[in-house]
């Protein structure tokens, strides 16, 4: 009784399920499906992904990746040898065995030491500007990598366990899909037959279009795009990849029974199903007091367990060569230890860790001074890290986005590729 037009351009598979009875339409569509999946196999072999491990609050990289034993600023932790050429903290013993896969960029030098500004800058490569919202890593990379996976039915940018930064001028279609680390996505089931769902969507689409055609601006049309994505997701088999509980006990144990551990495990599952960008958040690094005890008792063991499991697992499954891992926070913490045995905000000299997707592992790039207060080699910025990750993922640094105001914006804000990662 309803028109046969496809409301909201539902995913092909879903749309076909409604058309199953209409034999005239079934045949050509199935034929099309075969070629689609043949291509997909080919694409699958070279598709790239990235996982951002986001350390909200600003982790003290001097206590993790760039130790200064003996310096007055050094703190109590000792360095240990790793499977690569760089030493790291004694409280990261599992990660030490994975460092052949990772590069520590020890000469990060940035200027944003306020949480919000730093989070924005490190996520976008741009300093906050009241007149424009820049898209974040996840939005940019998933936007660039989406063409490699036509079969993807779930959102291309997933944020696990915490906030990310939004899609800015790329629009809500590239917003992070936020889930908790349990992988539970709420409200997935309408509890109605597909026919009735379809008819409701038809009516909704008609109302949406009526409003959009009245020149009400982009908010009205953005909403329609989200509805389409939502419908695809509700009906997708790929939603299973969120269910970390389905993993074998031994695997779950290896990642650690923590929110971050489950998040990292989910990230691997999502990479496997084709999600190009996953951000996993681990907060609580804003340690203005009692920092070393907190690090050694809780924070570093949780990080060590999950991050090492993820790296190892990706490597063993052959996924690491196409998957970039980025570990960073909004900034780091003062070399000076304050009166409350804590460290405060510090952006001038700190470390970021990257690995996978063909980037050189086992190295430390750049150098800080003996007390950790200065960068002694070429300083690197958020833009440089982003440019390097793009390079590893095969995304051209000439890629240009156009902001809503028509201003061209180069990907990674003209950052320079860090050459030690690729030589």
């Amino acid at each position: 009784m309803m028109s046969n037009s496809n409301p909201m351009n539902m995913s092909r598979r879903h749309f076909m399920s409604h058309m199953a009875g209409a034999s005239a339409m079934t045949m050509p569509a199935l034929a099309m499906g075969e070629t689609l999946y043949a291509n997909a196999d080919d694409l699958k072999r070279r598709r790239k992904s990235a996982i951002l491990l986001w350390m909200g609050g600003g982790p003290s990289t001097m206590d993790i990746w760039d130790l200064k034993p003996g310096a007055s600023t050094g703190g109590p932790f000792q360095p240990i040898a790793t499977s690569g050429n760089a030493q790291i903290s004694e409280h990261m013993p599992l990660m030490a065995k994975q460092m052949h896969n990772m590069a520590i960029i020890r000469s990060m030098s940035t200027r944003e030491a306020d949480h919000n500004r730093g989070r924005y800058y490190m996520h976008t490569g741009y300093v906050p500007n009241p007149n424009i919202e820049h898209p974040s890593y996840g939005a940019v990379l998933s936007n660039q990598l989406i063409d490699q996976r036509p079969e993807l039915e779930i959102p291309p940018f997933v944020a696990v366990g915490g906030g990310s930064v939004g899609p800015g001028f790329l629009g809500m279609a590239w917003a992070p899909f936020s889930v908790s680390s349990t992988g539970q996505v709420r409200n997935l089931d309408m509890g109605l037959g597909d026919d009735r769902l379809y008819q409701r969507m038809y009516a909704l689409d008609l109302i949406e279009n009526g409003f959009i055609n009245q020149r009400r601006g982009s908010a009205a049309s953005d909403h329609q795009k989200i509805l389409k994505k939502t419908l695809n997701l509700m009906t997708s088999e790929q939603m299973k990849s969120f269910k970390v509980a389905d993993e074998p006990e031994s695997v779950k144990e290896r990642y650690g029974n923590t929110g971050f551990g489950r998040g990292c495990l989910m990230a691997r599952r999502l990479v496997e199903v084709g999600v190009p960008f996953i951000e996993v958040g681990l907060g609580g690094w804003d340690m203005h007091s009692n920092i070393h005890q907190t690090l050694s008792d809780t924070k570093l063991p949780e990080l060590d367990q999950a991050m090492s499991a993820l790296t190892e697992d990706l490597e063993q499954r052959g996924l690491l060569e196409d998957t970039a891992i980025i570990w960073m926070g909004e900034f780091s913490r003062t070399p000076r230890i304050n009166g409350n045995a804590g460290r405060d905000h510090w952006a001038r000299s700190w470390s970021v860790v990257v690995g996978g997707a063909g980037m050189n592992g086992g190295i430390a790039i750049g150098k800080t001074s003996a007390d950790g207060t200065r960068v002694e080699t070429d300083p690197y910025s958020s833009q440089d890290v982003m440019a390097s990750v793009c390079n590893a993922l095969g995304i051209s640094l000439q890629t240009t986005f156009t902001s809503k105001s028509g201003r061209p914006m180069k990907i990674a804000n003209s950052g320079k590729v860090i050459k030690e990662l690729f030589s």
Partner: protein
């Protein structure tokens, strides 16, 4: 008068007469402040050669006024009453009603309590483990204050200077303390930053650690402001004989200073420059006014002095004007609205100054300020763009807002909730006020995303993400709103003696404040066929589609 504008607008559309020609022609309801707003905003249109959008329909205007003043859409009955009123002064009449009629007092107070609570302690304030904030305590204080229209300067003074217990029902209860109870850790740096930002529009948090590169604020000023809070402490009080916290009390205590001499007559504080040099600070207000440096509460209560200085500052007036303006217009005169320091000039400086002065002159009466903004011409414009303002006045494109159209925006989560309740009686048998609020905050908690730092940063919005779309598709609240069992909203509508067409009209009016278009009626009829004549089920499908549409969740 209004018809005249409509006719006039269409003339402009077709003939492009000189833009300034309409200047004398818009309704100001005999209110000089409204007239001044209209004149100043039109000046901006002329300067940028922008033609404003036409006026919004009565239904659209009514819907947005209800949403913005009392936090929910109008009921169908309320809508009809306004639309059918032939009185030329009906807009002023409706605004007066929403602000002053006792039938709306509760809605008004509830809406503005929510807004101010979010400004003062954030959407998650009071929900933290071992929180020193009692959210309900603050809300009770705000609700009481707003319901009897306490003047803004008094509210601010009370929030800044409050002492007493944070929890209703305990001794010395004073809900106003909850603004500060949890902002005093680490030498009250958060209290300093938030008090300056929220009431004065001055962003000082960056200057805690260094001189700000762009604005006039220096590190010294931050700590001079900070010194006002150093007599203040939050104390946990226990239920007698137990270790259970009964409430938190905010008190002023004599402060000996941080220096080695501990001389309370000159209670000093110290801070560190980036190069490690230590400097001293005493309480000095942003405009340079010094107060007695004694730390003895018998000599001077520093927060009391701060409260007086704040309410005398013109920054207070401008910040209030900017906040109220942004609430109704979607954008303020500065971006962000609470950064009004000299480094961040406003888009309409004369208007801000004038409205600030008038607000002060009229005793800081928030309801008057609201009336001026709501009855102004820019607030009455349609959200439909025209060729002249589509891009030239789109703040999403980075343009400075020129207010030549109504900027479309998502309903706040709270507005969505209250609107669903209003439109459907979804929460029937709602229980006590406290129970209703608990249910609401449980529902709202899904919108809170914490950022994992100590400054309580959070992102909380209903901004149209997929989980939110899922929540509207399938969530409990919408299930409630669209259920069709006996006695439900849809059941009652189906059984009413309205015709089928009228029933469909009713749904569209309840959600959109307009009647359905021809195509929409057609699709509704098709659904009725598809449901094999089960009217309630068909209404359920329509209602679901209506509530999930952009037109419902946007304020337009």
């Amino acid at each position: 008068m209004k018809n005249k504008i409509l006719i006039f607008s269409s003339i402009i559309l077709s003939t492009l007469v000189p833009l300034s020609a309409y200047a004398q022609d818009s309704q100001d309801y005999g209110i000089p402040e409204v007239s001044f707003i209209n004149q100043q905003i039109r000046q901006g249109w002329d300067d940028y050669e922008i033609r404003p959008s036409t006026l919004a329909t009565d239904g659209e205007w009514c819907r947005r006024v209800f949403l913005d003043i009392i936090g929910r859409v109008p009921s169908v009955e309320e809508l009809h009453k306004f639309v059918k009123d032939k009185d030329l002064g009906k807009k002023k009449k409706l605004v007066t009603q929403l602000l002053n009629d006792e039938n709306y007092t509760e809605d008004y107070a509830k809406n503005w309590t929510t807004l101010w609570t979010n400004v003062l302690i954030g959407r998650s304030g009071g929900t933290e483990r071992n929180s020193l904030t009692n959210r309900a305590g603050l809300q009770k204080y705000l609700r009481d204050s707003l319901a009897r229209n306490k003047y803004y300067n008094e509210i601010v003074q009370e929030l800044v200077t409050a002492t007493g217990s944070n929890t209703p029902g305990t001794e010395n209860y004073n809900g106003a303390v909850n603004f500060l109870t949890m902002k005093l850790e680490e030498n009250a740096t958060l209290a300093t930053a938030e008090t300056s930002r929220v009431f004065l529009g001055l962003q000082v948090q960056c200057t805690q650690c260094h001189n700000h590169p762009f604005n006039e604020w220096k590190q010294q000023k931050f700590w001079e402001m900070n010194a006002f809070f150093r007599q203040t402490r939050s104390l946990r009080r226990f239920t007698t004989g137990t270790r259970n916290v009964s409430h938190v009390e905010l008190v002023n205590e004599s402060f000996t200073g941080e220096g080695l001499t501990k001389d309370p007559d000159k209670a000093d504080i110290y801070y560190e420059l980036r190069n490690g040099i230590t400097k001293v600070a005493y309480p000095v207000f942003v405009d340079g006014t010094k107060i007695d440096p004694s730390g003895y509460v018998e000599d001077v209560i520093r927060r009391d002095e701060l409260g007086k200085l704040i309410v005398n500052s013109t920054y207070l007036d401008k910040m209030a004007v900017n906040r109220i303006w942004a609430h109704f217009m979607g954008y303020g005169f500065t971006k962000p609205i609470d950064d009004m320091g000299p480094h961040n000039p406003s888009s309409h400086p004369e208007l801000v100054d004038y409205l600030g002065q008038q607000f002060r002159k009229k005793s800081f009466d928030l309801k008057q300020l609201i009336t001026w903004v709501v009855l102004s011409e820019p607030y009455a414009l349609s959200s439909r763009t025209n060729s002249s303002n589509e891009t030239a006045d789109d703040p999403l494109l980075g343009e400075t807002p020129k207010f030549s159209r109504f900027y479309i925006r998502q309903m706040r989560a709270e507005e969505l909730y209250e609107s669903l309740i209003t439109a459907t009686s979804a929460d029937k048998g709602r229980g006590s006020y406290e129970e209703q609020e608990t249910r609401k905050s449980q529902w709202l908690s899904q919108f809170i995303v914490a950022f994992g730092n100590d400054e309580g940063g959070e992102q909380t919005s209903f901004n149209g993400t997929i989980p939110q779309a899922l929540m509207m598709f399938n969530g409990d609240l919408v299930k409630q709103a669209t259920k069709k069992d006996g006695g439900s909203f849809l059941d009652q509508l189906a059984k009413s003696n309205l015709s089928n067409t009228q029933k469909i009209n009713y749904l569209f009016e309840a959600a959109f404040a307009r009647q359905p278009a021809k195509k929409e009626v057609e699709v509704a009829n098709k659904l009725l066929v598809a449901r094999k004549g089960d009217l309630t089920a068909a209404l359920q499908d329509i209602w679901w589609a209506v509530l999930n549409s952009n037109e419902f969740i946007l304020n337009h």
